[in-house]
């Protein structure tokens, strides 16, 4: 009987996601309001949150629509902006060996930055596979339902939110990511990963479609591994 443990892992995942939902809500609210004012229909806006469920890509697509971009450009940009999910899903995969498709399909569809970070943190302290999928599901469902709700709210409130950019809601994602990032920096290699990735992202910020972000992340990971291996060698000598 693993149902009780599965249930507790599900709720642990949802609980771990409460702060992340707080951080993501302003974003969804602005998305809902902005998408409608930029020419997406209210139903289209809700459908995008329902079927795409990728905050930054949704924002960029709306700004491309208002700039008059054609659909091929929007789809290409969406793909590249979301490429970081490949890193996430590859990182999660070793935890999900032999996971049935009825689990893997929805778990991968609902994958976001937030649920990914919350889950890998939990997974590092868990061995039992059943716990893991329930934890991720709890985190993802909470993020998803909240994203739908705040998108709907943004669509409804629409023009009654005067100049949403002025409310500081754009900082919500930054502070959420800082709060997820800092506790992960525990030693010199992880510190180096953060500094190198941040510096490289700044230098590569003119590379289109956030591709600089991916290159910067790879550089940060590479430097961290070099430092870790050097430290391991130093101990052997």
């Amino acid at each position: 009987m693993n149902e009780p443990t599965g249930r507790s892992a599900f709720w642990a995942g949802a609980r771990a996601t409460i702060p992340l939902v707080v951080g993501a809500s302003p974003f969804g609210l602005i998305f809902g309001a902005l998408a409608v004012s930029e020419g997406l229909s209210p139903n289209g806006t809700l459908a995008m949150s329902t079927f795409v469920f990728a905050g930054s890509a949704q924002f960029i697509s709306v700004s491309l629509i208002s700039a008059g971009a054609n659909i091929a450009v929007i789809l290409g940009t969406t793909f590249v902006v979301n490429l970081r999910h490949m890193l996430y899903s590859a990182t999660l995969a070793p935890h999900f060996k032999n996971l049935p498709q009825r689990w893997m399909l929805p778990l991968s569809f609902w994958l976001t930055d937030e649920s990914f970070v919350a889950s890998v943190k939990y997974f590092d302290s868990q061995e039992d596979q059943d716990h893991k999928k329930y934890f991720l599901l709890g985190s993802e469902l909470f993020m998803y339902l909240n994203w739908l709700w705040v998108t709907w709210l943004g669509v409804k409130l629409g023009q009654s939110i005067p100049d949403p950019g002025k409310w500081g809601l754009d900082f919500a994602m930054v502070v959420t990511f800082i709060g997820m990032l800092i506790p992960e920096i525990k030693d010199r290699p992880s510190m180096a990963a953060a500094i190198v990735a941040a510096g490289a992202a700044l230098l590569g910020r003119h590379i289109p479609n956030q591709l600089g972000l991916l290159i910067a992340a790879f550089l940060g990971i590479l430097v961290a591994i070099l430092l870790e291996n050097r430290a391991a060698k130093g101990q052997q000598l």
């Binding site: 490429l83 060996k97 992880s190």
Partner: protein
């Protein structure tokens, strides 16, 4: 703009970034060096996402006192480092940002 095509297409390309890697990698034996690299994915990606938002203002890298994104970010880093509490960091960091912007602009 045909919204059906737009959203269907965005769903498809986004799903392509989320599903295939999980499917493929879950079916192979991942070398130890690669799982070692995986451990740094959250740190590296989160840092790379937020650095340009914090440091770049009006298209220029700004490390000046009037960059309220940078100031609020530093305050948030300090709170997170001292408390390790995510919710507290988000609430106080947002508050700091709103106050700083009111003062600096």
């Amino acid at each position: 703009m045909n919204e059906f095509l737009l959203i269907g297409g965005m769903f498809a390309v986004t799903f392509l970034t989320r599903y295939p890697m999980m499917f493929l990698v879950s079916r192979i034996e991942v070398p130890a060096q690669v799982t070692q690299a995986f451990r740094y994915v959250p740190i590296a990606v989160l840092s790379a996402i937020i650095a340009p938002i914090i440091f770049v203002q009006n298209g220029q890298i700004s490390i000046q006192i009037n960059n309220h994104f940078l100031l609020a970010a530093l305050i948030s880093v300090f709170i997170s480092w001292r408390t390790r509490n995510l919710l507290l960091t988000i609430v106080l960091g947002m508050l700091a940002f709103i106050l700083l912007r009111a003062v600096l602009i």
